[in-house]
């Protein structure tokens, strides 16, 4: 039975699990071009009982996350975990953040405008102040980005900021930044929305983050005990409106059962990452509310295309036809998800939803294998308990492949080093990704120079299409280029994307205003300034 990130009930020691890493990072940017407006707050916030009503002010909300233990830090540039991201979002702001369709929405940046060649972007900042009362200025923005990009450091957003020439970028005035880019980057707003690209004051020193963090976010720090508790208080001067809550406390509970028990016992009002069995048990009229964030985690098998047998596209195509997606979603995700069509980012901006849904076709799979001279195909499938449903998906797929005459041997690896282990080794592996723009998925994983290219998909013509998209001003023309790229991936792999898992949260019945349409990692996910206690 699959469960949350670090727990599978099939293991005898549920405590002995690696903390979960965030499944997505920012990417070498993209987003929407010259976007100056922003959709207002959507009306999709959780309101199960129809008690919409007006937000009520006051109270303390306690939120339980799986965390990083004693090593946690409040440095927003070091964010790695969901708990880090949620805390950073409460204390700090980014220039932009992702909407539910993963398009960049303005935050601290009130507007942005590129030049004709898309390699210079003028970004205007809104009037916002840090917690110490000083205004957020262009200097703070540049300082923050230079800190992230420091070659001697290893902040997670560094790769995302790679397209920016920070030496040449400058402050035009206190509230205008001119970013100079190394090449045309149509979707530069996605750089500004990248995971971990938070704006900190230019005066912030490394040692201050855990003691006196100064951000421009909706909450200020009251106290921080790594691995235990972080207490925050409402920032009345927040530019996007003061939060409804008086206080917000993050607590760390790595065990799913502990988070559920704490929620059921009234010790917390919000529990992140619950497993499907818990959701089913409490979904209808239980003591708690279940929120399913659809489309939060892409689930797939990745084929390495630079070595046998997957250097033959017919073998890859055969594998795509072998999978029974509905059965995988049912078996590996306990039904908590929907099927995929071998493409990343279902429902996101630029998703090629016109392509036909791929169905299982064992006859055609066999004939493709015969043509490829691989009648008696034997493959090793790497998996690991590193993510929910991985080991189960491997077992289900092994049985499905057997029906097409393919022998799949499942190999279970260490969860602490899984992602590194599968990057260069093996031929077929379980793979997962959190929400990120489709462009980020392409640039991080499918270009010749991508740093985490686990499928070894290296095609100069594919790279050229990507560059073409980045130099295309018109969003419609750009969408057409992305469409071509996705058609190619749909036809021949290298990712067999069989499903998209729900991200499951639980809240107390008094909690209102939890956004239901926000995949994990987007702006409205774990956004506590819009939540209130009824």
């Amino acid at each position: 039975m699959p469960s949350d990130e670090r727990t599978t009930t099939a293991t005898p020691f549920p405590g002995l699990h690696r903390r979960g890493f965030l499944a997505a990072s920012g990417a070498a940017g993209l987003g929407t071009l010259g976007l100056t407006g922003c959709a207002g707050p959507s009306d999709t916030r959780a309101d199960v009982d129809g008690e919409a009503g007006r937000p009520k002010r006051g109270g303390r909300l306690r939120a339980a996350f799986a965390g990083g233990g004693a090593s946690e830090t409040l440095d927003p540039h070091l964010s790695n975990l969901f708990a880090d991201a949620a805390r950073a979002k409460a204390l700090y702001d980014k220039l932009a953040d992702y909407g539910a369709d993963l398009s960049a929405q303005p935050r601290l940046a009130s507007s942005w405008e590129p030049n004709r060649t898309l390699d210079r972007w003028k970004v205007s900042l809104r009037a916002a102040v840090f917690h110490d009362g000083r205004p957020v200025t262009a200097k703070d923005v540049l300082h923050s980005y230079r800190r992230i990009a420091d070659p001697a450091r290893t902040f997670r957003a560094k790769a995302s900021l790679e397209p920016v020439d920070l030496a040449a970028s400058r402050a035009l005035d206190a509230r205008t930044v001119e970013f100079v880019l190394k090449r045309p980057t149509a979707e530069f707003p996605n750089v500004m929305a990248a995971f971990g690209a938070y704006v900190v004051p230019a005066t912030a020193r490394d040692g201050d983050f855990d003691h006196r963090p100064v951000g421009s976010g909706p909450f200020r720090l009251v106290s921080f005990a790594p691995g235990r508790s972080t207490v925050l208080r409402r920032n009345d001067a927040y530019w996007d409106g003061a939060p409804h809550l008086d206080e917000l406390e993050f607590v760390v509970a790595n065990e799913e059962s502990a988070r559920v028990n704490a929620l059921l016992g009234g010790q917390v009002e919000y529990a992140h990452e619950l497993n499907p069995a818990t959701a089913r048990a409490h979904e209808d009229g239980g003591r708690i509310r279940i929120v399913r964030l659809r489309n939060s985690a892409m689930q797939s098998f990745a084929m390495k295309t630079d070595r046998p047998p997957f250097d033959d596209r017919r073998v890859r195509q055969a594998l795509l036809l072998v999978a029974d997606r509905a059965e995988l979603v049912k078996g590996a995700l306990s039904g908590a998800g929907e099927i995929g069509n071998d493409l990343f980012g279902k429902g996101y901006e630029y998703y090629a939803d016109a392509l036909p849904q791929r169905e299982q076709d064992l006859g055609r799979a066999r004939s493709l294998l015969r043509q490829a001279g691989a009648d008696d195909l034997r493959i090793t499938l790497d998996t690991s308990p590193v993510a929910a449903g991985f080991t189960e998906a491997a077992a289900v797929f092994r049985d499905q492949a057997a029906r097409a005459g393919i022998t799949v041997e499942v190999r279970t690896g260490s969860k602490d080093t899984y992602w590194k282990d599968i990057l260069d080794a093996g031929t077929l592996c379980c793979y997962r990704s959190g929400a990120m723009p489709i462009e980020s998925h392409l640039s991080q994983r499918l270009l010749t120079g991508s740093t985490t290219n686990a499928t070894k998909w290296r095609h100069p013509d594919f790279d050229t299409l990507y560059q073409q998209a980045q130099s295309t001003r018109d969003p419609r023309e750009r969408a057409a280029v992305y469409s071509r790229m996705q058609r190619r991936l749909h036809t021949e792999g290298p990712f067999l994307i069989w499903g998209f898992a729900d991200w499951i949260l639980g809240t107390a019945r008094t909690v209102r205003g939890v956004e239901r349409q926000a995949p994990a990692n987007t702006l409205d996910w774990a956004r506590f300034d819009k939540v209130w206690l009824a």
Binding site: A152, T154, P226, E249, N261, T452
Partner: protein, 317 residues
């Protein structure tokens, strides 16, 4: 054997060597784990260049024996080094984790000793009769329940159904002593198995002692039953139990991961789990020293007790 003091000194010296051996072994084992802190930090973004930078920044590119020498040199000055993951001193990790661990261990031991002795003596006195059979059956049954299962059961019944006790210690992490109710269920889970093993050891020891000629002799001299049982028989039964008790305390101090995870009590076990997963070698080594020293001292104490209560048993130096 020439008196307890030189013997204890020799044991302490040996203990120091044993602790050093533990540290060496732990280092070797951590090195043998796949990946290192840089790989663990990279998580699902294993950008090779980034991993190399982290590795260099953490000095992981230096050979393990050099890192061990540096660390040992620091240890001689009482410096346990800093965590690879957070850069905070290892001593603060141990300090933070020790409090919750003690809060679990002390009440457990305080309750464990009288409960186990009482049950053991009770069973031995009624040896072979209904009371003995009942006590033994219950203890055996309880012993067979894994901690995690027992914990889930207790939480479901006493916290979620009856609402008598908090289900976890979530949010009390910084002020656990102020919420003693949160400790009741974890301490019960921790008590469950040691009480069984200890009571059964005492029952066996008591039964042997009560059947021995010297107890019969004491009775013939007209000593009261209670005096015979507690002053003459019990000390003999306590000797093996002291060894078992030392092992139990050691187990409690080294962090009972299952209980800590289930009830969200961030003690030493949690620190160790995270440190191993993060390949945070200095923290793992710091814990190895603490656990090694604790084990050596506890076993020394147990041997002293055995020595005192049952001198005839002899104690190997």
């Amino acid at each position: 054997m020439s008196g307890p003091l030189p013997w204890a000194a020799r044991r302490l010296l040996l203990g120091g060597v044993q602790t050093a051996a533990v540290v060496l072994l732990v280092l070797a084992l951590t090195e043998a784990l796949p990946g290192d802190a840089a790989v663990a930090l990279a998580g699902d973004q294993p950008d090779p260049e980034r991993i190399e930078t982290v590795r260099a920044a953490l000095h992981l590119d230096r050979p393990p024996h050099e890192r061990l020498l540096d660390w040992s040199a620091g240890l001689l000055h009482g410096d346990l080094g800093v965590s690879l993951t957070s850069g905070r001193p290892v001593a603060s990790y141990l300090g933070d984790g020790f409090g919750p661990t003690l809060l679990l261990a002390v009440p457990t031991v305080v309750l464990l000793v009288p409960a186990a002795v009482g049950l053991g003596v009770l069973a031995a006195r009624h040896q072979g009769r209904a009371v003995d059979r009942f006590v033994s059956a219950v203890l055996l049954g309880l012993y067979a329940v894994p901690e995690f299962a027992l914990g889930v059961l207790l939480v479901t019944v006493f916290a979620l159904r009856l609402g008598w006790l908090p289900p976890t210690a979530v949010g009390y992490g910084t002020d656990l002593p102020a919420h003693p109710a949160a400790l009741v269920l974890p301490v019960l889970v921790l008590l469950a198995r040691p009480v069984c093993s200890l009571a059964r050891l005492i029952r066996a020891g008591m039964a042997d002692a009560l059947a021995s000629p010297y107890v019969a002799h004491a009775s013939r001299h007209g000593l009261s039953g209670a005096r015979v049982r507690y002053a003459h028989a019990l000390p003999n039964a306590l000797a093996p139990a002291a060894q078992q008790l030392a092992r139990t305390i050691d187990w409690l101090l080294c962090g009972v991961v299952v209980v800590e995870a289930l009830f969200v009590i961030p003690g030493l076990g949690t620190v160790l789990m995270n440190a191993v997963a993060e390949r945070d070698v200095p923290v793992v080594q710091g814990l190895a020293v603490v656990f090694g020293v604790a084990t050596v001292l506890l076993n020394l104490g147990a041997d002293l007790v055995t020595h005192r209560f049952a001198p005839r048993a002899g104690v190997a130096a």
